[in-house]
């Protein structure tokens, strides 16, 4: 029986068509967002004008007028607000970088300990993880800072741990090598050596794939990294003079010092994040199929070698995304430095906010910088993740 041609289906009216509705909803959303933004901006401008508060980022060029407790760059009270913000940013990056390294090392060890066959060790690791994870990080920071400033001796009665290293309420003062022109070159030479060593490792790996034999790695790499720097060091007269901290009426000056604020922040953040990283590492190791370690054991490898050569490299893929978010959390938690007096970015922005009254600009700077840091770390980790991802056929 032939079906009569019914013709194309009737088109729905305009307001019923899916595409039209989609455009309409999006237009409404855009309108609502823009309307809200316009309303807030209008209010803000009115309020700022009514209270004669300045607006704009011109204040960054003005003299700051305050000192910063510690900074990696030279900062005088006559420097600009912009330089103050840069000093704060460097302080943030400093504590974040050191914190990330410390937390990763400690967290990995504890994560592995958690999975140890030694009952006592795994229980202690579990106690540490649960204890650290369930107490707020701000409380831990306050606790560490109170302990350091409460229990350590006064600067005048500092403990001399090793000759030249003094520990007191004013921090950890240690000697540094006296400034010598060769130091900048040493760093550059070490960097060049590291690059050359990386090339050597890549070449060694290619040789291993081709011939099955792997040229020695450890000693040649060490030699390549160290040789140029050592040669320069010796040739320049082996400058070993140390600038020792000496007592100057109120505290030990000279050398370099880690302030109690920095120590408390590093300890608090490092120990706190290490507990989370331990859980991430544990999850990663447990995600590797048991067959892998069983096969490795049947090949005769010791437990330690199984972990290092078989399990951890595979676990790395599972560990990396949550590890990234823990690094980001540590960086964001470093903003709590404002509560214990460490001059990081948020603390400096807070001071500037109070001195100039320009709340919006200062808070916008804080958020923009942290956003940039977060996006950078995420992008780096995503790139590395893609590089080591399993290509599944």
């Amino acid at each position: 029986m032939a079906q009569g041609d019914l013709g194309p289906p009737p088109r729905a009216p305009l307001w019923r068509r899916r595409e039209v509705r989609a455009v309409l909803y999006q237009a409404l959303l855009l309108g609502a967002i823009l309307g809200l933004a316009a309303y807030l901006v209008a209010n803000t401008l009115d309020n700022l004008a009514a209270r004669s508060i300045r607006a704009g980022f011109d204040f960054l060029g003005q003299e700051a007028g305050f000192y910063i407790g510690e900074s990696l760059i030279r900062f005088e009270a006559s420097d600009t607000y912009l330089r103050a913000f840069v000093a704060g940013l460097l302080n943030t990056l400093r504590v974040a970088a050191l914190g990330i390294v410390a937390a990763t090392v400690l967290g990995t060890l504890i994560g592995i300990a958690r999975l140890s066959h030694n009952w006592l060790l795994s229980r202690i690791a579990t106690a540490y993880i649960e204890g650290m994870r369930n107490v707020p990080v701000l409380l831990q920071l306050f606790l560490w800072y109170s302990l350091i400033t409460g229990l350590l001796p006064l600067a005048s009665e500092a403990l001399e741990i090793v000759p030249g290293v003094f520990l007191s309420k004013s921090g950890l003062t240690y000697p540094v090598p006296e400034a010598h022109p060769i130091h900048r070159w040493l760093l550059a030479l070490l960097a060049i050596g590291a690059g050359a060593a990386a090339l050597y490792v890549a070449g060694a790996r290619r040789r291993q794939e081709r011939s099955g034999r792997r040229p020695p790695l450890l000693w040649p790499c060490g030699a390549i990294i160290a040789a140029p720097a050592a040669a320069a060091f010796v040739l320049s007269g082996a400058p070993l003079a140390l600038e020792m901290p000496e007592w100057r009426r109120f505290r030990y000056a000279g050398g370099d010092a880690l302030t109690p604020e920095f120590l408390a922040l590093l300890l608090g953040l490092g120990l706190y994040t290490a507990a989370f990283i331990a859980e991430v590492v544990r999850g990663g190791i447990q995600a590797v199929p048991a067959g892998q370690s069983e096969a490795a054991r049947s090949l005769g490898l010791r437990r330690g070698l199984v972990l290092r050569l078989i399990v951890l490299p595979q676990a790395l893929r599972v560990i990396l995304p949550p590890l990234t978010s823990q690094y980001l959390n540590l960086t964001k938690n470093s903003s709590l430095a404002v509560a214990i007096g460490y001059p990081d970015l948020v603390s400096i922005a807070n001071t500037s906010l109070n001195q100039t009254g320009q709340a919006i600009e200062c808070i916008a700077i804080i958020m923009a910088v942290y956003l940039a840091i977060s996006l950078t770390i995420s992008a780096l980790m995503n790139w590395y993740n893609r590089r080591i991802a399993l290509v599944e056929h």
């Binding site: 649960e130 107490v135 701000l138 606790l143 804080i366």
Partner: protein, 364 residues
């Protein structure tokens, strides 16, 4: 078969089963290899160095009860008299002394509601009604002004009730917003997706402290002149907005876990987008990520301690105010240890509950 005593001069009588098992366990878990033994001995030595002094400090040498500060001077133990003196300030902040039964009742009510919500058998419709009435009752207790209770302004609220309230209301406010964000992020309409992604990435990229500063300093500027927003409300809004971004990611994970076929089948049955989401997809998605949502709640509970930086008297700031009394200042450790235990108690039980729930839901 028991060996004959006369023939078996070299046989020893068989050990009881328990001891055999104990020896086996000790061998495999603690002393199996040289490395293992060394680790065990080191751990035991560390514990021996730490545990007895902590024990004597906490219990044996401690000063208990209602003693003046002078009684604690110079002893090598904890000064629990400090807590006896200041426990009201720590737990309830600056709430008027005579009315402190009200925050106590509100806290008990909230904890009871949380405990009730933890039992899967009780996940019925009347639970939401119970929550709403519970929150209203808690609010009435804290605010007063009704039923003959004296009115207490929010700036006097503090301590544990404030911490609980900030986290519970924070998550309650964040949840609907997070749902919208998660759905928006998975939407096919580019505008919605862009808006959701922009919000989530922006909020997740900045620290909570900057949002709290923004709420404290900038919210008065955003509103028309003369309209003031309560300090507590500002912090609550900041916490809710912050939690919403993280919760949105959790819900998105759940949505990704529901097979696409479910949504397609719902469409085939004639359900529109919203009906399909509400009746088919979301119930499954949320069920998948309940443990992750509990973890988010634990995170929010800990994050409320940050309001101490914007001078809201939560549990942490109340403790610091108690320690600020010059008489009791040397005994800061006791204060911090006790509230660390309080936080630990809440968070640890919630995380244990999350593990229990995960196991229970997985075996369904």
């Amino acid at each position: 078969m028991r060996p004959l005593a006369a023939e078996s001069g070299t046989h020893r009588p068989a050990l009881p089963r328990v001891l055999v098992q104990a020896r086996l366990w000790l061998w495999s878990n603690l002393f199996g290899s040289v490395g293992n033994t060394v680790l065990t001995l080191a751990a035991v030595a560390a514990l021996a160095a730490i545990v007895p002094p902590v024990f004597t400090w906490t219990l044996s040498n401690a000063v208990w009860g209602a003693q003046p500060a002078a009684a604690c001077a110079g002893i090598d133990g904890a000064c629990w008299a400090f807590l006896h003196e200041k426990h009201r300030l720590i737990l309830f902040g600056r709430y008027p002394f005579d009315e402190q039964w009200r925050p106590l009742a509100a806290t008990a009510l909230l904890i009871a509601l949380l405990a009730a919500s933890a039992i899967p058998q009780l996940w019925r419709r009347w639970l939401s009604a119970a929550w709403i009435s519970g929150l209203l009752a808690g609010g009435a207790l804290m605010w007063g002004g009704v039923f003959g209770l004296a009115a207490v302004p929010t700036k006097l609220w503090g301590g544990l009730p404030l911490t609980l309230m900030l986290s519970v209301v924070g998550i309650a406010l964040a949840f609907p917003f997070a749902l919208v964000l998660a759905l928006g992020r998975r939407s096919t309409l580019p505008m919605f997706r862009a808006a959701a992604v922009a919000y989530i990435e922006l909020i997740r990229g900045v620290p909570l402290i900057s949002l709290l500063f923004m709420a404290s300093f900038m919210l008065p500027l955003f509103l028309p002149g003369g309209v003031t927003v309560n300090e507590l409300l500002r912090a609550q809004v900041a916490i809710a907005l912050f939690t919403a971004a993280y919760l949105a990611e959790v819900i998105r994970g759940g949505l990704q876990g529901v097979p696409r076929g479910q949504y397609e089948a719902a469409q085939a049955l004639g359900l529109g987008y919203w009906r399909a989401m509400a009746f088919v997809v979301l119930p499954q998605a949320l069920r998948l990520v309940i443990p992750a949502m509990v973890n988010t709640f634990i995170g929010t509970f800990k994050d409320t301690s940050l309001v101490a930086i914007v001078s809201l008297t939560d549990l942490l700031l109340a403790t610091r105010q108690a320690i600020a009394d010059p008489l009791w200042r040397p005994y800061f450790l006791e204060g911090y240890v006790v509230i660390a235990l309080i936080y630990f108690g809440f968070c640890f039980s919630m995380s244990r509950y999350s593990v229990f729930l995960e196991r229970k839901l997985r075996t369904r």
